[in-house]
């Protein structure tokens, strides 16, 4: 065993010591021969005969040297090196072709690796927690409705935590964390920061370990305990320069509503691998974590999101069964619960990426199609090259190269090409993932952790090898299988073989066109869906509107709030360029919260679902957002805390509560205690997503209800950065503690909402465009090759009187045949495939005739244009030149 290892090692060494070893062997053989001659002379031979006899007994010199080399080194490696050297030499001769092949491969492989990295990060790789497959997510109300419906009260969470038997542990965090505005003070301008309130067992249950310090103690999680915080890794690096001594020190954080204020002790720093936003709230950067004081939130209704860790061996289905029994039981013993918390329990991974699964698989398939097209295309190019090298291979066969040796040579070439393509593609993939990981505006989970990792590298190697094999095999067998005698002869004797080659190439091109057709139709359908989506009536005008978080120092006093807000709005509206301004606590497509809304006359009707999204807004908000008031009036400053509650409802609410009637002046229950009078009706606003129809919404006066945070919304035609200083100074003039917040464009919020779809559309469309280019390249290659091969024939026909137009027509007919076959096959395939992406379409039928017609004719036109060039060349063939060449 040891001996064999030592031999293997020595053989490897020998590869690198070729020259000294050969010299040594040469010297040894020389001394061998000298000794033999000497002995022969001693035996009485003449010098010449002695020498001859010695050589005879020695056997073939070259053979001895070769055998020596084979046994001391790695002959396979030697052959590989030889092939590689030869490959490089031949490729250098065909520099342009090699360049194009490598570039095409790089694009195909790069796109594949990048998409694989995304798919791997979001779907395949387990979540960055301990044993993530045991983590589950609880969605209240069977997973329907808004955030307020799907969350739990503190009491429901605690009771379930106490009584369940399926879970090792159950934890929660405060879902309305972005309703609380934190700011870091005492370090320059007050800095707005994002904090999340988590239950004490949140991090331990996920299995995260702190980078520095520790997690919260039970005392710190109780109201009145010492105020503590954990810092996220990126906040620690950004704000505190990664200084480890921050642990144990106090920082000053103010919050409104003020449950945290004053000095807060940093007890630890989380590892960089933990990114709350990327898992639980894509597109959001969390700066720090504080314990959620359950006693504080107990009276706030549904506010906590619940997740749990199953006991080993317990399935999600079993835990679902337990929850189905346990929650109603708990409800029976708690009369004050207003819901029985029918829950839907799903794996956490599913919750994070489940909705994206199909999107990503479609993307993966699209990129796979691209790779196929790339393979076919490269195969085609190499086939053409292999044919022009037919003579070379025939010569090598005649000189004794075995068929296997030739195939091996060609495969080495293909693998060298695919290796070079993969290397370049890896650079491309790295650039794409680098770019994607920095797109924190995109609502894709875990995107910030996308990178080309070891798995992706392994994938690259796999792809490179299979691609190399795929496009290399056809030419390799074609060439080596040929009749070399025929090839050795000059001229057109290899005609029949040429025709066979051409059939293969035509088949390749047809499949290329078909694949491109599928991609184009798919991209067309997605693109049309996207355009439809952008055309959706949002119910507001996002362009030229921006919002900024402001701090209002009203001490929670509704009577004082009115005049303060009125003053702020007055000053802001006075700024030149500002057309309208208003305030709200929540923006559409951003965050939401729901209460109940029921018409007074329906209050006893238990069959109606009463949920409604709530927006606490100021007068003028509707105008600044560009919402359309259908009937009645806007809220006014005269709706004060001491007057009757006023509400504005949307059309969906009017339809549900007062079908066929005029809701203006009607009374309703829902917001706050007592009745509220409907004063206006507005158009529906898409509040959760662009795809879904609007739910019931109500807008209630900020002077009568407490907002959860305040957003100042302004409409201006000027760039927002030019009015920002004026707005900020107006705000600081009234409240010096106003944190240094930034304007967010409402259009940006809309873009964020459509970003996953945009992501898909942009990628699939660019793949399709690439596919189109490749397909036309393929057509061009085949047609122009066939023209050049037939140039003699064409020349003769022209000499016999065929017109240039006639020749051109012939070539175009050939192109048309290939294209039409490809498009027909591709069209049929797209028809099947489009059904599969139906769930990703919006307002577009999977068999949308417009998309099919447009895309198929686009492909046909481009392909014909590609065939046009060789057709023109064919018609310019000079018959005289051809005849002379015969």
């Amino acid at each position: 065993m040891m001996d064999s290892l030592r031999r293997a090692w020595n053989r490897c060494l020998a590869v690198f010591r070729r020259t000294p070893l050969d010299t040594d062997l040469g010297a040894e053989i020389a001394s061998h021969l000298a000794a033999a001659i000497e002995e022969n002379v001693r035996r009485g031979m003449g010098p010449e005969q002695a020498r001859r006899q010695a050589l005879v007994r020695f056997g073939g010199l070259t053979r001895a040297v070769e055998e020596h080399r084979d046994s001391r080194g790695l002959p396979a490696l030697d052959v590989l090196c030889q092939d590689l050297r030869f490959t490089l030499r031949t490729l250098r001769r065909d520099r342009a072709l090699a360049g194009v092949v490598i570039l095409v491969l790089a694009l195909g492989i790069g796109a594949n690796v990048a998409v694989f990295s995304v798919v791997n990060t979001i779907l395949l790789r387990p979540l960055p927690f301990r044993e993530p497959n045991r983590l589950v997510w609880f969605a209240g109300n069977r997973g329907k409705g808004g955030l307020s419906d799907q969350t739990y009260t503190v009491s429901a969470f605690e009771e379930f935590q106490r009584h369940n038997r399926s879970f090792e542990d159950v934890t929660s965090y405060q879902t309305f964390f972005n309703s609380i505005q934190y700011k870091l003070v005492g370090r320059g301008d007050p800095l707005p920061i994002v904090g999340v309130q988590v239950a004490g067992n949140f991090f331990p249950m996920l299995g995260v370990t702190p980078l520095l310090g520790r997690f919260f103690t039970p005392e710190e999680c109780r109201k009145g305990g010492r105020a503590t915080a954990l810092l996220s890794h990126q906040f620690w690096e950004r704000q505190f320069g990664g200084d480890p001594s921050i642990v144990g020190r106090a920082i000053t954080i103010n919050a409104s509503p003020a449950d945290v204020a004053g000095p807060v002790t940093v007890v630890g720093v989380l590892p960089a691998s933990f990114d709350f936003g990327s898992v639980f709230s894509p597109g959001m950067q969390v700066d720090f974590y504080v314990p959620a004081y359950m006693d504080f939130w107990r009276t706030w209704g549904n506010t906590v999101a619940v997740l749990g860790r199953l006991k080993p061996g317990v399935s999600t289905v079993q835990s679902q069964a337990e929850a189905d029994i346990l929650f109603p039981q708990l409800k029976a013993s708690h009369r004050d619960w207003f819901s029985d918390y029918q829950s839907k329990i799903s794996g956490l991974q599913d919750r994070v990426s489940g909705k994206l699964r199909r999107t990503l698989y479609v993307l993966w398939c699209a990129v796979g199609l691209i790779l196929l097209i790339v393979c076919v295309n490269v195969s085609n190019m190499l086939l053409a090259r292999a044919m022009s090298r037919g003579k070379e291979f025939a010569l090598r066969t005649a000189l004794g190269a075995a068929r296997g040796r030739l195939v091996r040579q060609l495969m080495t070439e293909s693998l060298a090409l695919s290796g070079a393509g993969a290397a370049l593609g890896l650079v491309l993939a790295w650039a794409i993932t680098f770019y994607l990981a920095r797109q924190n505006q995109m609502a894709l989970p875990l995107l910030s952790t996308v990178r080309v990792d070891a798995t992706a590298l392994a994938w690259t190697v796999l792809v490179a090898i299979s691609v190399g094999a795929a496009f290399g095999l056809a030419p390799a067998f074609r060439v080596s299988g040929g009749n070399f005698q025929e090839s050795l002869k000059d001229g057109g004797a290899g005609m029949s073989q040429g025709r066979r080659h051409e059939r293969l190439r035509s088949a390749l091109v047809v499949s290329e066109v078909a694949l491109a057709c599928v991609l184009l139709v798919g991209a067309g359908l997605l693109l049309r869906s996207f355009v439809r989506l952008l055309d959706v009536d949002l119910g507001f005008e996002p362009a030229h509107v921006s919002a900024i978080q402001i701090e209002v120092n009203d001490g929670g006093d509704r009577a004082r709030r009115g005049p303060i807000l009125q003053e702020i709005l007055q000053r802001v509206r006075a700024i030149p360029g500002i057309e309208a301004a208003g305030m709200t606590d929540m923006l559409p497509l951003d965050r939401n919260r729901s209460w109940g809304l029921v018409a007074k006359e329906n209050v006893n009707d238990k069959n109606i679902e009463h949920g409604a999204f709530v927006y606490v807004v100021s007068p003028g908000y509707l105008e600044s957002m560009g919402m359309r008031l259908r009937r009645g009036r806007d809220l006014s400053w005269h709706d004060r805390s001491d007057t009757q509650h006023a509400i504005i409802v949307n059309e969906a609410a009017a339809h549900r509560e007062w079908p066929g009637q005029d809701p203006i002046g009607r009374l309703a229950y829902g917001p706050g205690r007592g009745e509220a009078r409907v004063v206006g009706v507005v158009s529906d606003v898409r509040e959760s997503s662009l795809e879904d129809h609007a739910s019931v919404q109500m807008y209630i006066p900020i002077t009568q209800f407490d907002p959860e945070g305040t957003e100042l919304v302004v409409r201006t035609q000027l760039p927002i950065s030019s009015v920002e200083p004026a707005v900020m100074s107006a705000l600081r003039g009234l409240n010096p503690g106003q944190p240094h917040t930034q304007f967010r464009a409402i259009q940006g919020i809309v873009d964020h909402a459509v970003s996953p779809r945009r992501f898909l559309v942009v990628l699939v469309t660019s793949f399709a465009a690439f596919g189109l280019v490749l397909a036309s390249l393929g057509i061009y290659g085949v047609i122009s090759y066939s023209v050049s091969r037939q140039s003699q024939e064409i020349g003769i026909r022209m000499a016999l009187g065929a017109s240039a137009g006639r020749v051109q027509l012939g070539v175009i007919a050939q192109t048309l045949r290939l294209t039409l076959t490809g498009v027909a096959i591709g069209g049929a395939a797209s028809f099947a495939v489009s059904r599969w992406i139906a769930s990703l379409l919006f307002g577009t039928e999977p068999s949308d005739p417009l998309v099919f017609t447009l895309m198929m004719s686009l492909l046909g036109t481009v392909a014909l244009l590609a065939g046009q060039i060789p057709a023109r060349q064919a018609s310019r063939i000079d018959p005289m030149a051809v005849l002379r060449g015969l």
């Binding site: 001996d3 030592r6 073939g60």
Partner: protein, 102 residues
């Protein structure tokens, strides 16, 4: 054979080994002497023999091979194995066949 030769005669150069094998076999084995070098390099890489340049009796530079300790061990093993096999085969062949007995 190479190992046995070296074990018996001490350090030898390639030609010497080849000649020695031919002589021992009563010129029955007439090898292409050149092929000996491939076997030598294999044995050397396994660490069973060891080579160094030296000067032969008649003042000629030559590469001398000598057996190593490992080589001796291997030789002993192989010899024992070969003996056993030889023994066995001898006995098998000496055993009168069943048909002959009847």
């Amino acid at each position: 054979m190479v190992l046995q030769t070296l074990a018996g005669l001490g350090p030898l150069h390639g030609y010497g080994i080849a000649r020695r094998i031919e002589q021992t076999s009563g010129e029955e084995v007439l090898l292409n002497q050149g092929t000996i070098y491939a076997s030598l390099v294999r044995l050397q890489q396994r660490g069973w023999i060891f080579a160094e340049w030296g000067v032969s009796d008649n003042n000629r530079k030559a590469k001398f091979y000598s057996i190593t300790r490992q080589g001796r061990r291997q030789l002993a093993q192989d010899t024992a194995y070969w003996r056993r096999l030889n023994d066995l085969m001898g006995r098998m062949l000496a055993f009168p066949s069943e048909g002959a007995e009847r």
